[in-house]
Amino acid sequence: SQELEQSPQSLIVQEGKNLTINCTSSKTLYGLYWYKQKYGEGLIFLMMLQKGGEEKSHEKITAKLDEKKQQSSLHITASQPSHAGIYLCGADSGYSTLTFGKGTMLLVSP
């Protein structure tokens, strides 16, 4: 079965700093999804990547899928308190289901 490993597990950054979260798969990724979760709430869809080398951006968040399609990174530029939360990557794992990483908790300090 496919496994997704996220790093780091948690991260504290000062407001205004950049940061990167990584998601590494044990198998080739055919669809990689990034979600954000506020504590105690559901997951909000951020971006989906499919093609090797693909890069997508939304506001100050950029996600990339490497050429070999086994790793994705999520980069936040000039972090703000609104970026705080748990970031999860998910990958297609058959029967229309997604497998998720365990998440990266981001705290943004003033």
Partner: protein, 113 residues
Amino acid sequence: DVKVTQSSRYLVKRTGEKVFLECVQDMDHENMFWYRQDPGLGLRLIYFSYDVKMKEKGDIPEGYSVSREKKERFSLILESASTNQTSMYLCATRRLAPNYGYTFGSGTRLTVV
């Protein structure tokens, strides 16, 4: 705006009780899923359904059952709640088309005492 609605945000039940968690969607999505989320373990798939009256076991179905009598509603049932079923339960839906991810509900935090 598409919606996945979970009936309760917080729920407290006693050990041995039969518990129903309801999930309703208004998007006409074919696929529906139930996950539980626990610290250090991430999201784990309990059951999913790709059509009315159809169900498939996920990774951790023990102690749970599901019902999908109508396309828009997917219920998770804890036949006899136990303390190790204290968790955050998340419902999700997915359209049967390529390149579509999940849409999640807001979650139900269940505590079994």
